[in-house]
Assembly symmetry: C2
Homo-oligomer: 134 residues x 2
């Protein structure tokens, strides 16, 4: 069911500092910062040959990553995003196996303009999983 | 400098259970389990079209992931591994920028039979980074 690893998302307390790390220390190619107020984050993508690292900095008071950073102030891997061909079929298969889909199970439009769902970390070895319709 | 994301390593308390999650719930293709006593882990690879997820279960009393699981008993993302063309050149560049290479800076032979180095998570937004010579 899951296809490509679309991205690894890393929550960071300081996006400028993180960009310097990935650009100047690790020598990677970066996108420009993009503020996504409706998602409560500002993002920069680290563009690797086979996938992307998504650096996420909280934006606004209700950012979904603020609680993560309260627990891990230095930052850390926030979620892994896998591509699926059909997000509703994926959701139904997951629910049939007993896995928990976050929210009411209705895909929302994610940061890349595509339908996404998040799965409960307790059902995936402590890893928050995002599925994105490719 | 960094090239492909070679793998995302996830520490898990129960490799059989994790394999069931990735195979039966997420529908991915898995390798056979491989015990690596010299690295203190048993691994299963989740083979995605563009990269791999490396599931790691502790093996033996001195496993490097036992401490991680003591803090995060459900498991979680343990490290990200990026490919580099020349690991000694990468190391020298990292040291020149002030980043900390773990150990004495001498690459060791990693789980895939290639030279690897690990970088200090405090210098990389809370993420343990492995570099592997491709």
């Amino acid at each position: 069911m899951i296809g490509r690893l679309n991205h690894v998302a890393i929550a960071v307390p300081d996006l400028e500092a993180a960009a310097r790390t990935y650009r100047d220390v690790l020598g990677a190619r970066l996108s420009e910062p993009l503020a996504l107020p409706e998602h409560g984050v500002t993002t920069i993508f680290v563009e690797l040959p086979n996938t992307k690292i998504e650096l996420l900095e909280p934006l606004g008071p209700d950012s979904p990553i603020a609680r993560f950073l309260a627990r891990s102030p230095e930052g850390g891997v926030h979620h892994l995003c896998y591509e699926v061909a059909d997000i509703l079929a994926a959701r139904d298969r997951l629910i049939a196996t007993g896995a928990r889909v976050l929210g009411d199970g209705t895909p929302r439009i994610g940061a890349h303009g595509k339908p996404v769902l998040f799965l409960h970390p307790k059902d995936f070895q402590g890893t928050l999983v995002e599925l994105e319709e490719a």
